[in-house]
């Protein structure tokens, strides 16, 4: 790739002949009216997706036979680049003759495949994959209009990367299985984030509800916590490393102690922890809120100490208020 990368890629050169043909002469460009629908005893469905402000928008027209739910004919209009026009054209064609339920299964990946000249060569460059995603979205929009339901109900909301259609679950599984720490590592196992790149991190073409970097971070955090939990179960507190001792104390403070104190409007924070010469583990704690002025603070300290020792199955922890 290095040599090819040195000469700036030209997106137009990477379009397949089918894409070029469809963008120059779209077959299903146009619209249907209520009269058209009446003449064919069909139900007219008109659906929009996208917006000009984003640079891409498409409108899909269907004539659907209400008895069989079959799509008799389809047309589209589009505000968009050549790829968007070509994708919309093929998408409209693919829906014809299918039932609405069957049409809903068509994705941008099917549209892109249909536009390939060579089955092994993508129809357009990766950054243009995004333009075909609308083809899927507008079908869902049209199907939900026909069925009279909210598009959210039938759309796979778990999809994180729309271009490659990869779900959050799939990404989480990969991160877990291969202990993935970065997006580059992730992409050894999936195509997620390889196309328009919007889903990698904020700041891309489109704002997304969740990004790959978030998922990687969340899963790693979860795994770390699970590991600690596991150690807390199998390892005795006294035998833990200093770092794990602190981590498990923090965990108990966060999970058990904080909830109790919060009821009285107070909170605590771990300041430091150290082993003293008597082999005790001193935990330095600072009070906030009502705790800091409470007369019963002494008692609270005792309570925390008791909780920590019980939860961590030891008698070495000594709580000191600072």
């Amino acid at each position: 790739m290095a040599r090819a990368d040195l000469i700036t890629g030209n997106i137009w050169e990477e379009y397949s002949n089918k894409v070029i043909d469809r963008m120059s002469n779209p077959r299903y460009l146009g619209e249907f009216s209520e009269e058209d629908a009446k003449r064919k005893d069909a139900k007219l469905v008109v659906a929009d997706f996208g917006s000009e402000a984003c640079g891409d928008a498409v409108r899909l027209y269907w004539l659907v036979d209400p008895k069989t739910d079959r799509i008799i004919d389809a047309r589209f209009k589009s505000f968009g680049c050549g790829t968007a026009i070509a994708s919309s054209d093929v998408m409209a064609e693919l829906t014809i003759g299918k039932t609405v339920d069957e049409a809903m299964k068509i994705t941008n990946l099917d549209v892109e495949k249909a536009l390939r000249d060579d089955p092994d060569k993508p129809a357009f460059p990766p950054q243009k994959m995004h333009c075909s995603v609308m083809a899927y979205d507008v079908i869902i929009e049209a199907a939900s209009k026909y069925k009279g339901v909210d598009p959210k109900e039938i759309k796979n909301s778990e999809i994180v990367c729309e271009c490659a259609r990869v779900t959050k679950g799939e990404i989480e599984e990969i991160v877990r299985k291969h202990k993935v720490k970065t997006v580059e590592e992730l992409q050894k196992y999936t195509d997620a984030g390889k196309y328009c790149k919007s889903c990698i991190k904020p700041g891309g073409h489109e704002e997304r509800p969740i990004y790959l970097v978030d998922i990687i971070e969340q899963v790693n955090k979860q795994m770390e916590e699970e590991l600690l939990l596991n150690q807390m179960k199998t390892e005795k507190f006294d035998e833990m490393t200093h770092l794990n001792k602190i981590k498990s104390i923090e965990k108990v403070l966060k999970e058990d102690v904080s909830t109790i104190l919060a009821m009285d409007g107070g909170s605590v924070e771990l300041v430091d922890a150290r082993e003293n010469e008597n082999g005790e583990f001193e935990v330095l704690i600072k009070y906030f809120g009502t705790c800091s002025t409470c007369n019963a603070a002494m008692f609270t300290g005792y309570m925390i100490e008791k909780s920590l020792n019980e939860r961590l199955d030891t008698d070495k922890i000594k709580v000191i208020q600072v």
Binding site: D48, G55, S78, C81
Partner: protein, 388 residues
């Protein structure tokens, strides 16, 4: 017919320049050699400098370092201040504008990695910065002000002379990216009050791979390319003799043809612009008083920029889009948005830039084709009817 209207991006070589370039390819002597072959080359360079210096009003005590491009010159200027900062200078702030080319923006972003700070001045509906705002942003630790002469996209010309005065008043070095200046405006570095000025020959019908970096006497400079003692040690690397001689010729011709640019090319541009504006729901931007004489930036409601470029290309017409769908970020609509346009329209921007070689019949051809292309694409557009 083939009509090239992307001259702000690059230009074809002038025939005369091309001939001179070819004639000088045979002079292969290294300028550093003491024997006759070197002397020959040195003479050629000296003659070229006799043209290059006065072409931008430089004094003999100033430097015009030959570079490969404006990009190289821009990098050398910005990084001079980065190196100063890394060597302990307290000056860590650069003021520049949102209208800059990536050859300013990218090195500026790079300096931030090392702890420098960059202020990007916004531009108004004419694509120009506000002088008061510039003055407000100047700090004690401002190392450099860098403002482009004119934008290749909007064609907006900045008030360089006024900026130069402000920079001088505050004692701050001032750099001007002049990629769009030579051949489209008279350049006199002393009059403009710049300390640095960069240019590329290929923007004014010269060869690619040659450019210049003007450095006023006394202005800080640290080489970007270390090597031999070429360019007084300020830019290493064997010298591109034929390219430099050709650039000198191109500069000479650019200045000789300035009147043609001001009167004939701009008239042709105006004719073209009027024809565009006759098409319903089109708009052009930046007051002509502040715009390069060869540039039109227009929007075509309802037509996405790349789709338009495609159809123009089919008709043999080459233009640029301000809403390039082609980059990975897919957010090229920034140009028109910066000029105050709505996001829906910002994606429909097209930039046409003429040159002194653009013929009237070529413009007539585009004027004939354009309305048909617009009609065809608006027919595809779902939103055009709705908006009207």
């Amino acid at each position: 017919m083939e009509v090239y209207l992307d001259n702000n991006s690059t230009t074809p070589m002038d025939k005369e320049v091309r001939e001179i370039y070819h004639e000088h390819e045979k002079f292969y002597g290294n300028v550093n050699s003491i024997y006759q072959k070197g002397i020959e080359t040195r003479k050629l360079l000296s003659k070229a400098y006799d043209v290059i210096y006065p072409a931008i009003g430089a004094r003999d005590e100033d430097d015009i370092i030959i570079t490969s491009s404006t990009t190289e010159g821009n990098n050398a200027v910005i990084k001079t201040f980065l190196y100063n900062f890394l060597q302990g200078s307290e000056k860590k702030h650069i003021i520049t504008t949102v209208a800059e080319h990536s050859s300013i923006k990218a090195p500026c972003a790079f300096t931030k990695k090392f702890g420098m700070e960059v202020t990007y001045l916004y531009t108004d509906e004419n694509g120009r910065i506000d002088l008061q705002e510039l003055e407000d942003f100047i700090r004690d630790d401002t190392a450099l002000i860098s403002v482009l002469f004119a934008s290749n996209e909007s064609g907006a010309i900045q008030p360089i002379k006024e900026i130069g005065e402000i920079a001088k008043k505050h004692g701050i070095p001032f750099h001007c990216d002049g990629a769009q200046a030579i051949s489209k405006a008279k350049v006199d570095v002393s009059e403009l009050g710049v300390d640095y000025f960069t240019f590329s020959a290929h923007k004014f019908h010269g060869p690619k791979g040659v450019g210049g970096l003007y450095v006023r006497k006394g202005a800080p400079f640290i080489p970007l390319i270390h090597g031999g003692n070429q360019m007084g040690g300020k830019r290493g690397g064997s010298i591109n003799t034929a390219g430099i001689v050709a650039m000198a010729k191109a500069m000479e011709l650019a200045n000789e043809n300035l009147d043609r640019m001001y009167f004939e090319v701009s008239k042709l541009r105006d004719k073209f612009e009027e024809a565009i504006l006759k098409i319903p729901d089109t708009k052009s931007y930046v007051d002509k008083r502040f715009r390069l004489p060869n540039t039109v930036i227009a929007s075509f409601r309802g037509i996405e920029g790349e789709a338009m470029l495609w159809e123009l290309n089919q008709a043999g017409i080459y233009a640029a889009t301000g809403s390039s769908c082609s980059s990975e970020r897919l957010q090229g609509s920034e140009v028109l948005e910066a000029l105050g346009e709505d996001p829906e329209i910002a994606h429909t921007g097209i930039i046409f830039s003429l040159s002194r070689f653009t013929k009237e019949e070529e413009i007539d051809y585009v004027i004939e084709k354009l309305p048909k292309i617009v009609e065809k694409l608006r027919n595809i557009s779902m939103t055009y009817a709705k908006q009207r």
